[in-house]
């Protein structure tokens, strides 16, 4: 009897084990199965510039899935991109867009790098300033010159000269810029604060001294308790390059073998702005800015900051914010009277091994010509013939009207130097400048500490 009970019990455990094993295997296999096809976006009417439809006989590379990977689309851009994709599929019936929009600013280049190593890059994908050259050097990108030259809708001499270096490597184009903007482009200001202080609003001709004087007058504090900061600005490589370049300094020497961040023009430029945080104490430091909300929408709606040196992407939040009486002018000129901006750009590149090159090029080109996201992300178009489309309901309020003319001037916009090394180099400089920004050392000390590390990195590249 005992034996029977035991054998029954043993069998039942085996059965249970089998069941567990089978269940686990089934679950694992189910998890590994390819997903069902995602729902297609609905097709609605095309917008933007009229485009030539595909030729009737379907060309090679114009049938199949076109993998499109996008970095950093804002939520308001997404429906516009979906509509563009749907319209594209209507124009090119053989092509099915497989879109992938990553969460904003999260690991895009980590993913791209991994895909590049595995030779599984998407057909067409977002690239940024400073990334085109290292990816081209690694053979990940397809040169676009033959596609540009043979295209009847894009003329090479129509491309703005200012963007050509940003999309080129060793004389060839590896990306097609769909838009660019200076950074930091604007000095946003609270109109009410200026009126209360009896100050004239800023103009595009303001210099850094004008900003400092206004900040001193706009700042409101009672003892240690700050009721309103005069100014805020981000402490990151875009801002400090704008400061250094505008003041006549540079990050590297001409052949990019040595850094020049210890030279007076560079040090004085950054020190001028950091003094407003640590010496004048009228500009908010990064931590306090984050605690105030960390976004334009909050600081302006809350009336806690009178001026902010900001970027074009701040516009989206500002527009959605109630109760902020704001306007903006172009960011100020340095005290020597010049203004040199960092060039933010968005561009498309095509994977070196894409089997869908014609479709990928058509996608990139149509995106440039149609400007589907311009209503929410105001990029300056890359083609002279499209410059008249750089208009919008907020342009006057933002002072963007003069931008096309200004950026056409040589030397007003720059991309970072040192190619693929810049990411690391800016990190070396930033680590030191963070200490200066929080008043733990002077800018001169910070630059002196960072410079040998930067030189070492530059030497390693050579």
């Amino acid at each position: 009897m005992q034996m029977t009970q035991k054998s029954v019990r043993t069998m039942s455990r085996r059965q249970w084990l089998k069941l567990v094993g089978l269940g686990g295997a089934t679950a694992a296999l189910a998890a590994c199965a390819a997903p069902a096809a995602p729902a297609q976006p609905s097709v609605s009417g095309a917008g933007g510039q009229e485009l030539t439809p595909a030729a009737q006989p379907v060309a090679e590379g114009m049938t199949g899935d076109l993998r499109v990977m996008v970095c950093c689309a804002t939520p308001s851009e997404e429906p516009l991109r979906n509509k563009f994709n749907a319209d594209f599929e209507t124009r090119y019936p053989g092509v099915k867009i497989v879109p992938e929009i990553l969460p904003a600013g999260q690991g895009y280049f980590e993913k791209l790098q991994t895909m590049m190593a595995a030779n599984t890059l998407p057909d067409v994908f977002d690239m940024w300033e400073g990334y085109v050259q290292p990816y081209a050097a690694n053979g990940a990108l397809r040169p676009l010159d033959d596609l540009i030259d043979s295209d009847d809708q894009v003329k090479r001499d129509d491309i703005l000269p200012v963007i050509i270096p940003a999309q080129s490597w060793q004389g060839k184009s590896y990306a097609f810029v769909y838009g660019f903007m200076p950074g930091p482009v604007s000095l946003y200001y609270n109109v009410d604060h200026f009126e209360q202080a009896g100050l004239q609003p800023p103009t595009p001709d303001w210099t850094w001294n004008d900003v400092r004087e206004a900040a001193l007058k706009l700042h409101v504090a009672q003892g240690d308790k700050v009721e309103r900061y005069g100014l805020s600005f981000d402490n990151w490589f875009v801002t400090w390059q704008y400061m250094i370049w505008s003041n006549g300094g540079d990050i590297f020497n001409a052949d990019e073998t040595k850094t020049t961040i210890t030279e007076p023009a560079a040090v004085e430029a950054v020190q001028f702005w950091y003094d407003m945080v640590n010496k004048d104490k009228v500009a908010v430091d990064q931590t306090a800015y984050q605690m105030l909300g960390g976004s334009m929408a909050k600081v302006f709606a809350g009336g806690m900051i009178a001026m902010r040196l900001g970027n074009y992407w701040d516009l989206g939040e500002l527009k959605e914010t109630q109760g902020a009486n704001w306007r903006a002018v172009l960011s100020p000129k340095s005290n020597i009277g010049q203004r040199v901006w960092y060039m933010h750009l968005g561009c498309w590149s095509i994977g070196a091994n894409s089997k869908m090159v014609p479709a990928a090029w058509a996608y990139a080109r149509d995106f440039v010509l149609q400007r589907p996201i311009d209503s929410v992300t105001p990029y300056i178009p890359p083609l002279k013939s499209l410059m008249s489309t750089f208009t919008g309901p907020d342009h006057e309020r933002l002072g963007y009207g003069a931008l096309p003319e200004i950026v056409a001037q040589p030397g007003v916009l720059r991309v970072p130097g040192a190619g693929e090394k810049f990411d690391k180099i800016q990190g070396l400089i930033q680590a030191e400048l963070d200490l200066a920004f929080t008043g733990k050392k002077s800018v001169a000390e910070a630059m002196a500490t960072a410079a040998p590390k930067v030189d070492e990195e530059l030497a390693r590249r050579a």
Binding site: L17, G24, A27, A28, A31, C32, A33, A34, P35, A36, P38, C72, A73, T74, P75, V98, E100, I101, L102, P103, A104, G105, Q106, G107, E110, K111, Q113, T114, M115, A117, A118, N119, T120, A288, M291, L292, G293, G294, S295, M296, A297, K298, V299, A301, G302, M304, N311, W313, D314, G316, E317, T321, Q322
Partner: protein, 290 residues
């Protein structure tokens, strides 16, 4: 048989003991409060009105209770889909890790075979290899070799191949179990598998619970692996998908981000409280900490 005598302590001794206890508990409560502050801040921020400034100094106790933020998270992103995907991935991965790690650890702890120590050292040495080093070769293997791009495969199958840390932890625990139990079972005719299954595993519940918690947290919080393997948003896990609450350059509505973050970490907290007893027991027994 002499009577047991108890030493009477002086009032001063009791006063000293009370004072010492007060200091110790005070310190522990203080440290505990410091550790909980970031979570309290997240919770408080998640209940603020959207668009309202956070203010400085930071507020740790809520004064507004805007529960609508939690509903808005569901409206803004497919939270339920992301949550479901995270549950699927984490459940399978934890199951695989427990199964494989316990089997391998049993082999290292209980079976004698040539090269056992060498193999164990080799296994331990794999713990020194950082994930970024193996990330690209693994990606090539899973995507190009096995064609598992955009599936849960690369997320759930690796734990079935015995993660080194879990094997190490379980082996240490298994070695503390008296071998006489195995010998007695062998005399009764039990196979090695039966010893593993019916004797060792039931005794190793604290260590298994510890592994389960660690594995759960690692898989639940993993951002990079889903990022590089998954393309279809319907397959995104919560750790990845929750980032859609952020705008470009990290902006966005902080109250909603915090509401999403609170819901994201809630399962970890609940699981920890449910298995707290086992975890502490497991950590104490194995001499390891997370």
């Amino acid at each position: 048989m002499g009577a047991i005598t108890f030493r009477r302590h002086s009032a001063q001794w009791y006063a000293r003991r009370t004072a010492r206890a007060l200091v110790v508990y005070g310190l522990l409560i203080g440290l505990g409060a410091i550790f909980i502050l970031p979570f309290l801040w997240s919770l408080t921020s998640s209940l603020r009105e959207t668009g309202a400034p956070l203010g400085f100094p930071p507020q740790f106790l809520p004064t507004q209770f805007n529960w609508r933020n939690y509903v808005r998270v569901f409206e803004m992103i497919p939270f339920a889909t992301f949550f479901r995907n995270s549950v699927i991935v984490t459940t399978i991965a934890v199951f695989g890790e427990l199964l494989s790690a316990s089997l391998v650890a049993f082999g290292f702890a209980r079976l004698r075979f040539p090269g056992r120590n060498l193999l164990f050292i080799l296994l331990l040495s794999t713990m020194m290899i950082p994930y970024p080093v193996t990330m690209i070769p693994s990606f090539i293997l899973w995507v190009r070799g096995l064609g598992m791009a955009n599936t849960f495969g690369p997320l759930v199958l690796p734990p079935f191949f015995g993660p080194a840390f879990s094997i190490f932890l379980l082996r240490q625990f298994f070695m503390t179990i008296n071998t006489e139990l195995d010998e007695a079972a062998k005399i009764d005719g039990a196979s090695e598998f039966r010893i593993y299954w019916q004797i060792i595993l039931p005794l190793a519940k604290p260590a298994l619970a510890t592994i389960a918690i660690f594995s759960f947290m690692a898989n639940w919080n993993d951002f990079l692996t889903p990022l590089i393997y998954l393309s279809d948003r319907n397959l995104y896990t919560l750790a990845l998908g929750i980032n859609f609450l952020r705008n470009m350059r990290g902006g966005g509505e902080l109250a909603l981000q915090m509401a999403g973050a609170v819901m994201f970490i809630a399962p970890c907290i609940i699981l920890y409280f449910l298995a707290q007893r086992f975890v502490i027991q497991g950590i104490v027994t194995t001499g390891l900490k997370g």
